[in-house]
């Protein structure tokens, strides 16, 4: 492999990892507040189809992204209402949201299957894109990829260095204590879930507007589920999510690259790589019970009722 090829592979890994990054960033914030939303895949598909429809009818990809964000937040609000207000089981509700989103997106998108549009074009950032090697890998992408870079750093800062981050963690670790010091637990959780929905929407829009500028039923192909694994893989740290997303992206294109290079490894075996990686990390993390507890938000998946004592 020459250096040119390596650069192109890494460039492609970032592109492939970007939808994972968006959706996993949303999910990590949601989980940090103590809510487990398994509806990622459904929200992402709805974002993808609505984003595509909006961009297709208006001819403006930017509007597509905004529509997808709105759709994602609407989907997440349905979820939030059910689990936060009505105290429904988070796992069951999340699964239902995914099934709902998969079916509904196929239904509303059936008219535009096979259509295509002009999505976002790549923009080379002046100066930065001239850096040898790194410039070509990092700074010749489209606007959404740059957004994901900025988003990651903003979230790292907010979660680790600000009061908002502390509040979020307090709600996720011990909602009763947070409630006692006057934090509005449900409000924080609503906002965190909605943030997850918005990010899932952008992630879906990235799929249908940039990655493959077209709409096809079930086009996210399980990326919402990979994102859930990715959050565990990153042990709920924002920075590690970025790293993990690109690793997963790399793993999912590697089997195609190696085939092109003429390696005689079964493509099916190689296509399995990202999933194997997830299982391995899960095993490593859960091998140490104490560590597992330290890492995951302690009230993850547990409903909170302010009238009940801890």
């Amino acid at each position: 492999m020459d250096s040119d090829l390596i650069i192109q592979i890494l460039f492609a890994a970032i592109k492939t990892g970007t939808p994972l990054l968006f959706i996993a960033l949303g999910e990590v914030i949601c989980e940090k507040s103590g809510v487990l939303n398994l509806g990622q895949e459904g929200m992402m598909l709805m974002g993808a189809v609505v984003g595509f429809l909006a961009a297709y009818t208006t001819g403006n990809a930017g509007l597509g992204v905004i529509a997808a964000m709105l759709m994602g937040s609407i989907m997440s609000l349905i979820f939030a209402f059910l689990v936060l207000h009505l105290g429904a089981n988070q796992v069951a509700t999340g699964l239902a949201l995914t099934i709902f989103g998969t079916g509904l997106s196929a239904f509303i998108g059936s008219g535009v299957v096979g259509q295509t549009l002009q999505g976002f074009q790549p923009i080379a950032i002046p100066l930065l894109s001239d850096i040898p090697y790194l410039g070509r890998i990092l700074f010749q992408h489209d606007i959404l990829v740059y957004t994901s870079f900025v988003m990651t750093f903003v979230l790292m800062f907010v979660v680790n260095k600000t009061r908002i981050g502390l509040t979020l963690k307090a709600v996720g670790e011990n909602p009763h204590a947070a409630n006692a010091i006057g934090i509005k637990v449900l409000r924080v959780r609503y906002l965190a879930v909605m943030f997850g929905g918005v990010m899932a929407g952008i992630s879906g829009a990235y799929m249908s507007l940039v990655y493959t500028p077209m709409w096809v039923e079930n086009m996210t192909a399980g990326r919402g589920w990979i994102a859930l694994a990715l959050v565990v893989f990153a042990s709920w740290r924002v920075g590690r999510i970025m790293l993990g997303a690109y690793l997963f992206g790399l793993a999912s294109i590697m089997h195609l690259v190696l085939q092109g290079l003429g390696w005689s490894i079964s493509p099916n075996l190689l296509a399995m790589l990202p999933y194997v990686a997830t299982v391995v990390v899960m095993v490593i993390i859960s091998a140490d019970k104490f560590k597992e507890k330290l890492l995951s938000p302690r009230s993850l998946g547990k409903p909170f009722d302010p009238r009940q004592m801890a």
Partner: protein, 355 residues
């Protein structure tokens, strides 16, 4: 698809209660992809529409799209057979065993399975000589490539795909002795995301002409973005890549569907393994790009005419496989039965067929 299967079962109820003396001849179709794939399934649906147009009220058609190859397929085919269809076309290789099973249970229904090889007294098969189009594609790619590297996105390593890869390579080699072919298996018939990844992986490795055995226009879109070229599969895909598109090898199923439905109506239908190509007007070259160099264009027409007239058959010996065995002796052209069993790469393809 769900709605469609509901309609099919409603049709069953309606069919049971209303018995007409002059019932239309009912034909069912099963597609592996969405009719909007603008590739394989789209063209089968065009064939279905052609059938309706030709027979008018005498024929009634139903289709079920997006049917996964597997247990679901058997359920869908059974449902179509139960709901009073007189003839059922199943249009993907993976529907072979489900079709065989259902055909056994419904001896009064006539079945036709595309691209398969299992026949029974009420089950015929039909396939396109896609390798003819691939040979022309190979000749064109061999002339157009500047890097001497053409890329092929494979779906599954079945004889049809292996045969087409060979045809592409032989075509390319006939005009460009230095040409190499890179093959990537996407393990799907239709997944635009994966097809894009595969296309980019190939282009990253120096491929400048893309061919595909998957059905979405995603690889062409990817080629257009990078200023490289590609050839459309199954239907006219020129509008997705105005600059990159070289031509599309278009499938046209309606002549066959009309002929077979007529045969069943007349009672002359027999289970056969039918192969249709340029000679039968079931393959055509669509939207040959006007931006091709004149010599390439001339060569395309020349090769096309030779194949269409039957003067040239791509799988004519001597052909040696890439392990050094003589697989087609001199002066012999593979018969249809032999073509269906191609499981070797021709000499010069430095790759192995995944097992």
């Amino acid at each position: 698809m769900k709605l469609k299967s509901l309609l099919v079962s409603l049709g069953l109820l309606a069919g049971a209660s209303l018995v007409h003396a002059e019932d239309p001849f009912k034909v069912g179709f099963v597609y592996v992809g969405p009719v909007g794939d603008l590739g394989w399934s789209y063209e089968h649906d065009m064939g279905r529409k052609g059938l309706e147009e030709y027979f008018g009220d005498k024929v009634e058609t139903t289709f079920v799209e997006n049917v996964p190859e597997g247990a679901d397929a058997e359920r869908v085919i059974t449902q179509l057979a139960k709901s009073g269809n007189d003839m059922i076309f199943t249009t993907s290789f993976g529907f072979m065993n489900p079709t065989v099973k259902v055909a056994k249970r419904f001896p009064n229904v006539t079945f036709e399975h595309a691209t398969g090889y299992k026949l029974s007294k009420n089950l015929g098969t039909y396939v396109l000589r896609t390798y003819e189009g691939r040979y022309i594609s190979g000749v064109t790619a061999g002339m157009m490539t500047k890097t001497d590297t053409i890329g092929y996105i494979g779906s599954f390593p079945i004889p049809e795909v292996i045969r087409d890869i060979n045809a592409v390579y032989m075509g390319a080699k006939s005009v460009n002795p230095d040409v190499k072919i890179k093959i990537v298996w996407a393990n799907t018939w239709y997944d635009p995301g994966k097809e894009t990844d595969a296309a980019n992986a190939l282009m990253d490795q120096g491929v400048d002409i893309l061919l595909q055995h998957t059905d979405s226009p995603a690889p062409l879109i990817a080629a257009e973005k990078r200023g490289l070229r590609g050839i459309g599969q199954a239907s006219d895909q020129s509008k997705f890549a105005p600059k990159a598109h070289i031509f599309s090898v278009r499938d046209d199923w309606s002549p066959y569907y009309i002929k077979q439905v007529q045969a069943v109506m007349d009672g002359t239908w027999e289970p056969k393994d039918f192969w249709g190509g340029f000679q039968d007007d079931m393959l055509t070259l669509a939207s040959i790009n006007s931006n091709l160099p004149a010599d390439v264009r001339a060569k395309i027409d020349e090769t096309h005419d030779k194949i269409k007239s039957g003067e040239f058959k791509p799988f004519t010996g001597p052909i040696t496989d890439n392990k050094g065995n003589l697989v087609v002796p001199a002066n012999h052209s593979l018969t249809d039965v032999e073509l269906a069993k191609v499981n070797w790469y021709v000499e010069g393809i430095t790759d192995e067929i995944p097992r």
